[in-house]
Symmetry: C2
Subunit: 150 residues, 2 copies
């Protein structure tokens, strides 16, 4: 659904690129969320578990930064995961402000079971693009993610 805005060519180009970016991200994520939900995880919960699996235990602040989520949201998502016994929290260092989050054994089991099939689905979602195109997409998106805003 491209924009119907009648601005300059440059404006329309930027708007159309932005809209296409959003729609791609939203529709792919939406398609991936269904199977994930049937395994009992929301997209956000999966993101937390995956970060902890691959990057190791970390404080909530770091989690929020890596996942681009607010502090309040991390607290809530980690609350739920903790309730399910998938992660644990503790104030592990000398600085008592920091709460370190790490996977429990149950959490490791769940994410190790879930991740491979999720990865396969992502591969499938990227199939419309050839390898070089996937690379191009990645490079273009990384430049946007850094923050434009002239």
């Amino acid at each position: 659904m491209p924009t119907h805005y009648r601005g300059t060519a440059g404006e329309r180009r930027a708007l159309n690129a932005y809209i296409a970016l959003l729609r791609a991200a939203e529709s792919v994520t939406s398609r991936l969320a269904g199977p994930l939900g049937r395994e009992g995880l929301t997209t956000g919960q999966f993101g937390v578990l995956e970060a902890l699996l691959h990057l190791g235990p970390m404080c909530q602040k770091t989690l929020g930064r890596k996942l681009l989520r607010s502090g309040g949201n991390i607290t809530l998502v980690v609350d739920h995961l903790e309730h399910r016994g998938l992660v644990s929290r503790r104030r592990a260092g000398a600085d008592r402000r920091f709460v370190t989050v790490e996977l429990t054994e149950a959490g490791k089991t769940v994410i190790r079971q879930t991740f491979p099939s999720h990865a396969k689905r992502i591969v499938g979602e990227m199939k419309p693009l050839a390898p070089g195109e996937q690379e191009s997409l990645r490079r273009l998106c990384r430049r946007l993610g850094r923050g434009g805003g002239a």
Copy 2:
């Protein structure tokens, strides 16, 4: 934040492209949401108003399809907009199931005031990419948005 998953090269490529896509979409949207919020609109509300401005009145089902949102969510967002007097709803056709949503005069005023500055911000966010690159991004994303899932 690329994946630390040790799968095949193809898997890592797909995962990294997907992650970059998500991060770009989320970070740009997040940066745009701030100024929009200060004008009193959420991203979702803006989407509805903009669609109605450029595409004309339409039923909620159509709104949901164009904006990639669920029926329940459209009901809620439109509820709030209606409460603020920015849109109106009526069962306009012979089929009494359909609710047509359209901008009120107040709604037109708001979106006409808000849209140009928002468009400018989007242009700014796309600045890291040259015109041709914006085109490439749009083409790549459109192919993903259609639904892969091999």
